[in-house]
């Protein structure tokens, strides 16, 4: 009986790869489709947001970006994209998670929900831009930061997933882009495209020519 079962086990060893190939191709197709859907939903509003942000930069405004976990790495990348662009005009941008000293001081002494809001209260001023990135859209430190940003006269922008979560109902938010997917990973991938496109549109609005 043992010998008879052997071929089945040998066949099964390769099966993982076939399933992995199929799963990969499915996800690759899914994100292409999602990007197209986001283009349909958000192209016009992204343009309006880009024009509003460009106007703030022209008026001397600065950009503050923030997010948690994987989104914090996107926020860092976004700030770098503005400050050290590969073409066009460098623009002042700072990611609020880049100073671990300030982030851990606030978290330890007050609470993690105040990190971005307290930083905006200290650094932000009228005419600046606050841009938060979240996949869940439920992060309380993001919500508090957007409220604080609005209180200071900043333009407020957020990228979110699912149905926009706590951010969807927020009066203090000027521009909200919700990625319509239930996968955290596909949401993050589409958000990466959204903030890259937003940057391209801002450069375009400022008169920079894209090499593409």
């Amino acid at each position: 009986m043992d010998r008879l079962e052997e071929p089945a086990v040998v066949l099964d060893e390769d099966d993982g790869l076939a399933e992995a190939v199929r799963s990969t191709a499915e996800k690759a197709a899914e994100i292409v489709w999602l990007r197209r859907q986001v283009a349909e939903l958000a192209a016009e509003r992204l343009l309006r947001c880009a024009e509003a942000m460009a106007a703030r930069f022209v008026g001397g405004g600065r950009l503050f970006t923030f997010g948690n976990g994987g989104s914090s790495t996107d926020a860092q990348e976004l700030a770098t994209t503005f400050l050290h662009p590969r073409y066009g005009t460098p623009l002042p941008a700072l990611c609020l998670t880049s100073d671990v000293g300030v982030v851990t001081a606030l978290s330890n002494d007050v609470g993690f929900e105040v990190v971005f809001a307290r930083q905006l209260a200290a650094l932000g001023r009228q005419g600046d831009i606050a841009l938060g990135i979240s996949t869940s859209a439920g992060s309380s430190n993001l919500v508090k930061a957007i409220v604080e940003g609005r209180r200071r006269g900043m333009l407020t922008v957020a990228l979110a997933g699912y149905q926009g979560g706590n951010l969807a109902a927020l009066q203090a938010l000027d521009h909200l882009f919700v990625i319509p997917s239930s996968s955290v990973h596909r949401i993050q991938e589409a958000q990466t495209t959204v903030y890259h496109v937003l940057w391209e549109l801002i450069q375009h609005a400022l008169g920079s020519c894209s090499p593409h």
Partner: protein, 181 residues
């Protein structure tokens, strides 16, 4: 102006559609990474930009409930000059480890040097690059079909999300056959 926003999105389509063709390559990389984890190895991440940190978050703190945390660490900054990543690797790497390096250009001195050091140390090497970076030397080279670093990054995010998922898929699968990993 309205066309510009649409154009910016459609510019992504070619590279996005081409990713499906790389599925076998990505699946093999996922399988080999899972083998290294099963042998007790950790995943060491480095590259240009912030992707290394992002990938560490994926492995250490999975977004999907029930998936276990796997050992992964992002190396500190060192993309622009040769020597930094390779130095960190020599002091941190163990024989069963693997490295995943991310470089849109594939020509970043620190990344190339890190990959070379990882190869010498006998680590499994996976490189995510753009169209210009195909010549990079690694066990698995996955190249996004674009030369625009922004588009390349977007493709990379999908690739490393998929790799994370595949590692768990392979670990779960063989874990059942082989007993405890």
């Amino acid at each position: 102006m309205h066309l510009t926003a649409h154009h910016a999105f459609t510019r992504r389509d070619t590279a996005g559609l081409a990713l499906s063709a790389d599925s076998p390559r990505i699946a093999e990389a996922g399988r080999d990474l899972a083998d290294r984890f099963r042998r007790g190895g950790k995943l060491i991440l480095f590259g240009e930009g912030t992707d290394a940190q992002h990938i560490a978050v994926e492995f250490v703190h999975p977004v999907i409930m029930g998936r276990r945390s796997l050992p992964a660490m992002a190396l500190g900054d060192g993309a622009t000059a040769a020597g930094s990543f390779s130095h960190q690797l020599r002091h941190w790497a163990e024989p069963a480890d693997s490295v995943l390096a991310v470089s849109a250009s594939g020509r970043c001195p620190g990344v190339l040097d890190g990959l070379a050091a990882a190869g010498e140390l006998g680590l499994l090497t996976v490189a995510l690059v753009g169209d210009d970076g195909r010549a990079v030397r690694a066990d698995h080279v996955i190249a996004a079909r674009s030369t625009d670093p922004a588009v390349v990054k977007e493709i990379h995010v999908t690739v490393y999300h998929v790799l994370w998922d595949l590692v768990h898929l392979f670990l779960d699968r063989r874990g059942a056959d082989d007993g405890p990993a």
